[in-house]
Structure formats: structure tokens, C-alpha cells
């Protein structure tokens, strides 16, 4: 049973159901604000830079990047893991908070899921483009062929990874989409524009809100939610096996799967916080995304950052405890004190120490501070991946082959391109898709109304 007094009110302002629809749908019908165009313009310029970088990569080769025979993975894998991590937010939000029966998630999960889909798209670009011969990517499918048939290597973490990402992309996209179907129906039925009616009508798949639809819809949500919960854990665990299964010092550790999953959720939640604060300010969704929501996310971040800190320290401890000189060198001479110390300490401070500010209620309630800290966490998580990918590779077993890695403008351009793609995607989401799950918000709105007589003890409301 949910107690509103713990978390405060979920929706500010006494709103009727119709008001909820109207206010959430306002950005779709309203005149597009100028900043949107500016932001979209910037995003597209960034995207164009990315497209150009990809073009150069495709036509000339990966040699245009800074990677070399020693550090064969660079920014592209860092960015891949980073984006995949961010892409964990949506599912983690929806699923874990659903399992934990946290009703406040309803205001945020739509945005989080949208972010997930765009982020996973961004992420998927990197492994594809970092292949030497991306036009032969289909070799990775285990399909019957006329080569024997020659199958794939089921032992390879990259194959697992490929499966995991494809599955995750498909599932998170369908989860997101089917969550929107009733809302599309709402738009269809409330809009005055004929074009919108036709378009949203098409995407609503003929939804009318009948009980037989809702019944199956609930069933579908249950199934997708259930398996997606497994996925949240499995995807980043599998991504972590890209490293953990290898023999590189600093990679070869059993700590990685939980460490990566928690890290992913951490970065995802930080990105959610970034977006939500923007939504709250830019679209005046303050009534739905209340200070309480922000507060709740901050509290989760504090908790996760403690886990992150523990993971970092555990990693270092294990390196020492293992007695392996290669591990010890990687951690003590290369990460903590070596030429990559900046990235290590950036990671440690931004991820493990800075979020501790959220212990203070004052900080949690200051939207700007929260926004800035969320950005730092994103940066810190990027450093974490840099720390893992580059430092281990650059100085591993044979000192003769130690080499440095410096990114080139092509790699940086590619990353900026995905940032542009992400922000463009998010802007389109703001513009054309209900930012908040209307039907779900309506469902919880009753907890805000005066009709408390239906909340009599013994009267059970345990759906969801």
C-alpha cells in the first residue's frame, strides 16, 4: 500500500483527468518554441559532424582513428559502453520501480524509456562502425549458409553482446511503444487537427480502451516487464563480459557484471535526472515531475554511488589481494598514479564522492545543483569506461608493446555525432510524443484527489 506522506504528493495542483491529458499533451499541440529549433539546429549540426566522421571512417578505414596495435579499442568502445549504460535508465526505471511498486515512476518512465531507445541506437552504431569491414557485419548472424555451413563462435562475448544489444533494442523499443499506444489513442481522440488524428490514429493501432484490450495489455506489460527485468541485469552483465572474459589485466575480474550493471543504472539515472530537470524547466511539467520526484532520484543516486565507490575500492583491493603483478601494475602504477591518473581520479571523484552531496536535502531540492551534478556523473561514468578500456590495454603484459592512445578528430566527431543524434532524438520525443505516460498518471491521480473514502482500510488496491 502506497503512502503518499512518505514521498509527498505525486502530482501538484488538483487536476482533473481531462486536465492531465491537456497539460501533458500541450507541447504536441502548442506552437513550437524558438529554443526547440535552436536546439534542434545544434543537434543536427553535431549529427552532421558525426555523419562526416562515419563517412571518413567508412571510406578510408579505422586507421583514421587513434587506435593502434596495442590499444585496439578506444573511444568507440568507451562510447558504446557509455551509451549502453545510459540506455539502462528506461528499463531500470520502469522495471525495478515497478517491481518495487514505486508509483512515482509514472511521471518519469516514459522519458526514461525514450532516452533508452535513442541511447541504445547511438550505442549500436559504435560496434558496427568499429568493425574493420562493417559491410560484412552479417557474418555475426548464425544463419545457414553455403560455406559449410560455417557457424559463429558461441564462446565469443562479442557474439553474446551482439545478441544482447539486439534483444535489448527490440524489447525496450516495443516496451516503450506499447506503453504509448493508449496515449496515442488519447491524442487521436482529443486533437482537433485532422492530420494529427490520422497519424496518431494509425500509431494507436485502433486502441479504444475496452476492457478486453486493457486485460491483454496488462498481461503483455506483465510479461514484458518480467523479462525486461532479466534483461536489465543481463545486458550490461554481458557487455561486461567483453572485458571480464578476456585476459587483460584490469579486465579479467568477476566483479565486472554487477559493477557494470550498477554503473549502467547509475549513469542512466544521472541522465534521467539531466533530462527530467530540463523537462521540468523547459516544458513546465513541474506539476507532474515534482521536487519529490527529483528528490527520489537523487536519493537513489546516493545509494548507487556508494555501491560504485565500493566497487572501485574492491577492484583495487582484489588487484592487490590477487598478488598478480600485472593486475597490481595496472591499478597502482597505471591507473592511480600513471599517465591516466586524471581519468581515474575523475571517475572516482565524480562517481563516488560528488553524489554524496545528495545527502543534503538542500542540494536535492536545488534543481540547478542537481542538474550540474548529474552532468558530472555522466562525465565520471565516461571516465570510468575510459579507465577500463584504455589503461588496461595500453600497458599490459609485455612492456615492449606498451603504447599510448590518443583519439583523433574523427573519433571525437563520431562521438559528438551520437550526442547530436541523442539530443535530436530527445527533442523529437519532446515534440511529438507525450512526455509522460498519460494513462498511468491518470491512474495514480486518484491518490491525489479528495475522494479518500475509497481508500478505506481493507479495501485493496494491489493492481500494478
Amino acid at each position: 500500500m502506497y503512502k503518499t506522506d512518505v514521498r509527498g504528493k505525486l502530482i501538484d495542483g488538483e487536476k482533473s483527468l481531462s486536465q492531465i491529458s491537456q497539460e501533458i499533451l500541450a507541447p504536441i499541440d502548442a506552437k513550437v518554441p524558438k529554443w526547440w529549433y535552436i536546439a534542434m539546429g545544434i543537434s543536427l549540426v553535431m549529427l552532421a559532424l558525426g555523419v562526416k566522421s562515419i563517412y571518413i571512417t567508412l571510406t578510408q578505414g579505422i586507421g583514421t582513428w587513434g587506435v593502434n596495435s596495442t590499444v585496439a579499442w578506444g573511444w568507440e568502445i568507451i562510447n558504446f559502453v557509455w551509451w549502453i549504460g545510459i540506455g539502462h535508465a528506461g528499463t531500470a526505471f520502469s522495471i525495478f520501480l515497478l517491481i518495487l511498486r514505486q508509483k512515482w515512476r509514472t511521471a518519469i518512465n516514459r522519458a526514461a524509456e525514450a532516452m533508452t531507445v535513442v541511447a541504445v541506437f547511438c550505442a549500436a552504431l559504435f560496434p558496427l562502425m568499429h568493425m574493420g569491414r562493417p559491410w560484412l557485419f552479417f557474418y555475426i548472424f548464425p544463419y545457414p549458409n553455403t560455406r559449410g555451413p560455417l557457424w559463429v563462435n558461441f564462446n565469443s562475448p562479442l557474439f553474446w553482446d551482439f545478441m544482447a544489444i539486439s534483444a535489448y533494442l527490440l524489447i525496450s523499443a516495443s516496451f516503450w511503444y506499447f506503453g504509448m499506444v493508449p496515449d496515442f489513442a488519447t491524442i487521436r481522440d482529443t486533437t482537433k487537427s485532422k492530420i494529427k488524428k490520422a497519424i496518431y490514429g494509425f500509431f494507436a493501432f485502433g486502441w479504444v480502451g475496452s476492457s478486453r484490450e486493457w486485460l491483454r495489455y496488462e498481461g503483455l506489460a506483465f510479461v514484458l516487464g518480467g523479462i525486461a527485468a532479466v534483461l536489465v541485469v543481463s545486458v550490461h552483465s554481458i557487455v561486461s563480459t567483453d572485458f571480464a572474459v578476456s585476459i587483460e589485466p584490469g579486465w579479467h575480474t568477476t566483479l565486472f557484471p554487477p559493477y557494470f550493471v550498477v554503473g549502467a543504472i547509475f549513469s542512466g539515472f544521472a541522465m534521467v535526472l539531466t533530462l527530467v530537470t530540463l523537462m521540468k524547466k523547459l516544458y513546465k511539467m513541474g506539476d507532474f515531475i515534482t521536487e519529490n520526484h527529483v528528490d527520489a532520484v537523487c536519493r537513489i543516486l546516493v545509494f548507487i554511488s556508494l555501491i560504485m565507490g565500493t566497487a572501485y575500492i574492491t577492484e583495487i583491493f582484489i588487484a592487490w589481494y590477487s598478488g598478480s603483478e600485472y593486475e597490481m601494475y595496472t591499478f597502482f602504477k597505471n591507473r592511480i598514479t600513471g599517465e591516466y591518473a586524471i581519468q581515474f581520479w575523475g571517475m572516482f571523484i565524480f562517481n563516488a564522492l560528488l553524489p554524496q552531496l545528495f545527502w543534503s536535502r538542500k542540494v536535492r531540492r536545488n534543481l540547478w545543483v542537481v542538474f550540474v551534478i548529474s552532468l558530472f556523473i555522466n562525465l565520471g561514468m565516461w571516465f570510468e569506461r575510459f579507465n577500463i578500456v584504455v589503461t588496461s590495454l595500453s600497458k599490459n603484459y609485455l612492456p615492449a608493446s606498451w603504447a599510448e592512445y590518443h583519439p583523433t578528430f574523427i573519433e571525437i566527431g563520431f562521438f559528438i555525432g551520437t550526442l547530436g543524434m541523442f539530443s535530436a532524438g530527445v527533442l523529437l520525443f519532446f515534440r511529438y510524443i507525450p512526455q509522460i505516460a498519460i494513462s498511468e498518471v491518470k491512474m495514480i491521480s486518484k491518490y491525489n484527489t479528495q475522494q479518500t473514502d475509497h481508500l478505506k482500510p481493507g479495501h485493496h488496491h494491489d493492481y500494478e
Binding site: 569491414r133 559491410w135 560484412l136 549458409n145 553455403t146 560455406r147 559449410g148 555451413p149 560455417l150 494509425f202
Partner: protein
């Protein structure tokens, strides 16, 4: 290494672009204007009018003169590729042969036939010298421009496009128009169309870079049926390096002369083809055969291993060559084809002292753990047997 494949991919892209282009035409139902203009203005026959060449062509094709009593040239001397072996020299072969020679030589060749076969077919010829000159002009032009292309068959493309159209209509109906009452009809159309299209694409993709049934025209109408079939010449008489070298080898021109020093006229081909062999030997200009069996660059195949060591019959891979007038690539030469043969082929394990190394396998054979050693058991399917 994969460069050529990549180019072929590009070719596919071209086809795709072509498809798009074509579909655009169909959808907008604009009649296609046949504008394959003959813009060959820079022919080498500068001092001859285009009309003369055209007339020569018409004569060659039997369209001129109107009161013609004898066979058209093209009826024997084919212009385009034929599936079955036409023993007569092709128009192109004649054109190239007489390209650098003057008219009188050409005239005497046509009008004073040598050899039984030619005599028989040319005997009724009553050709005006002016006509023959035009024919010569046409042939000279032909030698430069090459044979007219038969044009790619577009049946497949039309089927593919039609299916695409069908799919689009079915989808549109399913989603928007709802004209067809029974929805399963559209659904079945859709599914069948998709399956057929996928099959077509898959087939095209699989045959990419392969050329099963490839049977190009060769510079000499050499018939394996006549040599290996009718006259029962052993394969290794000509392809004598097959047993100990990677390459089976194309016989030297002088090897041909072992027989053709005497055999100067063929029962089917007359003198024209054999004369090429003789000429090649005399002028020291080797004949440039067209290669049939082209493995990709990254595959290393050894005839010695297969013919010399494993004693595989030539026919197993090359088909019934003794029945082929036009040599043809019988097998698809796909990797799966190699691999599956290696899985089945037994190794002559006991008689070759080389295999004495394989102590463990010998023990197993003796112990009865296994009854035969197949190629795959001694690593015939390792990557680095063929790719290195």
C-alpha cells in the same frame, strides 16, 4: 582480397539503383522512351560513311539484297553468344581475323572456300564485290566495337518489382483502403510475396561472386567432347601438371601440334579453328583462353593434393567434360561444396608413408575405435588448408 567482392557489392548497389529507377517509371506510368541512342560517332572508319557500314550489317544479317538466294551470313556466323556450340566461326572471330587485312584477302577467303565443310556451305554464294566490301567494313567496325550485347535478362527484375508492387498494394489495402473483403487474402498475398522476394534476394546473394554453369565463348572453338570424349585423350595428357603442381596447367600450344601437325581439318569445324592453333604456333602468339574456374583470391587450391595424392577423378569436380562441346563450370565452387566433400572423402591412410606420423589415429584404426579416416579427420577442413 575482398576488394573484388566489394566491387560486386557495388554492382548490386547499381542494380538496386536501377531497380529504384525502374520502379519510379512504373509507378508514374511514364512510357519508357527507347533512347539507347547509338552515339558511336567516333568509329574508326573515318573515310567510310555510316550508311555503308549499316548496309554491310544488313547484308550480313541477310536483309540485303532483297532477292537473296543464299543463306544469310549470320545464320552460320553467329553475332551473339550461343548456348550450343556453333562450329562455324563467329562473326566476331572473322572480324578480328580480317581486321588488319585488306579486302582482297577477305574476298578470296569468302569466295574461294577451302576445306570440305566450307566449300559445301559457301558454294552457292553470288555476292557483288561492292556488297562484300560493305560487309568487310561492317566487320571491321565490329572488330572495334565488339559484339552487340545480348542485354541482361530482366525477367527476374520484373518479377521482383511486380512482387514489390503487390506487397505495397496489399499493405496499403490492409492499412488504409480495406477494399478486399477477406483480410486473409491480402495477408496471404503479402506473406507469399515476401517469401518469394526473400528467396530471390537470397539466391542472388548466394550466387554473388560465383559462376556455376559459366560457359564463355573461347577464342578457339575447342571441344572437350571431341578430344576427351570421342578421341579419348586422357585429361592428363594435356593438363599434365595436375598431378604434381597446384595448377593443372593449360597445355602449351606446341602440345596441340603433336596431333594437329597432321590433323588440319576438323570434321565439324573445318579448317578455320585449327588454323588458329597453327597460326599461334607460327607467329609465337599464345592463344588467350578465357578462364572458367575462378576461385576467389583468398583460396589456395592445389591440384597436386587432389589429383596426385587423393586420386580424385577430374570428373568429380569438373563434371562430364567428355560430353561438353562448350566447356562449362559444373560445380558452384562454394566453400560448402569443398567442405562437404572433405567430410565424406576417405583418406588412403595405410599406403602412404606420410601418414605414419598419425600414430594416434593408426592406433585407433587398429583398435577398431574408428573404421575409416576421412579427410576431415586429418584437418582437411582447417581454415589454413586453403586460406593463408
Amino acid at each position: 582480397m575482398r576488394n573484388s567482392t566489394f566491387l560486386r557489392h557495388l554492382m548490386r548497389l547499381k542494380t538496386f539503383a536501377f531497380l529504384l529507377f525502374l520502379s519510379f517509371f512504373i509507378v508514374t506510368s511514364i512510357p519508357i522512351t527507347a533512347s539507347s541512342a547509338e552515339d558511336d560517332t567516333d568509329v574508326i572508319a573515318e573515310d567510310h560513311s555510316h550508311i555503308d557500314i549499316k548496309r554491310g550489317e544488313r547484308f550480313f544479317k541477310g536483309l540485303l539484297p532483297k532477292d537473296r538466294k543464299f543463306e544469310s551470313c549470320v545464320s552460320c556466323h553467329n553475332l551473339t553468344h550461343t548456348d550450343t556450340l556453333n562450329w562455324n566461326p563467329s562473326a566476331m572471330a572473322i572480324a578480328v581475323k580480317f581486321a588488319g587485312k585488306d579486302f582482297s584477302e577477305f574476298q578470296s577467303a569468302v569466295m574461294q572456300p577451302v576445306g570440305k565443310k566450307m566449300e559445301a556451305s559457301h558454294k552457292d554464294f553470288a555476292i557483288e564485290e561492292s556488297d562484300l566490301k560493305k560487309v568487310k567494313l561492317y566487320l571491321d567496325e565490329l572488330a572495334v566495337t565488339g559484339p552487340p550485347s545480348a542485354g541482361p535478362t530482366i525477367n527476374q527484375i520484373i518479377i521482383f518489382l511486380f512482387l514489390g508492387l503487390l506487397m505495397t498494394l496489399a499493405l496499403l489495402d490492409l492499412i488504409f483502403f480495406h477494399k478486399i473483403k477477406y483480410r486473409y487474402v491480402t495477408v496471404i498475398i503479402l506473406i507469399v510475396a515476401v517469401i518469394v522476394q526473400v528467396k530471390m534476394v537470397a539466391d542472388a546473394a548466394i550466387s554473388l561472386g560465383r559462376s556455376q554453369n559459366y560457359a564463355p565463348d573461347q577464342p578457339i572453338k575447342f571441344s572437350h567432347k571431341v578430344h576427351a570424349g570421342d578421341n579419348k585423350i586422357d585429361c592428363k595428357y594435356c593438363h599434365h601438371t595436375a598431378e604434381f603442381s597446384k595448377s593443372a596447367g593449360i597445355p602449351a600450344m606446341e602440345l596441340c601440334m603433336n596431333c594437329h601437325v597432321l590433323v588440319r581439318e576438323g570434321a565439324n569445324s573445318g579448317k578455320f579453328e585449327i588454323a588458329k592453333v597453327v597460326e599461334a604456333n607460327e607467329t609465337k602468339t599464345p592463344v588467350e583462353w578465357i578462364r572458367l574456374h575462378n576461385l576467389p583470391d583468398h583460396v589456395f587450391f592445389s591440384h597436386a593434393q587432389h589429383v596426385g595424392i587423393a586420386k580424385v577423378d577430374c570428373q568429380k569436380c569438373h563434371g562430364d567434360v567428355a560430353q561438353m562441346n562448350i566447356m562449362k563450370q559444373t560445380s558452384d565452387l562454394s566453400m560448402g561444396w569443398c567442405i562437404n566433400c572433405h567430410r565424406d572423402t576417405k583418406v588412403n591412410f595405410k599406403d602412404n608413408a606420410y601418414y605414419d606420423n598419425y600414430m594416434k589415429l593408426h592406433d585407433q584404426l587398429k583398435g577398431g575405435g574408428i573404421d575409416t579416416i576421412r579427410a576431415v579427420n586429418i584437418g582437411a577442413n582447417d581454415c589454413m588448408r586453403c586460406h593463408y
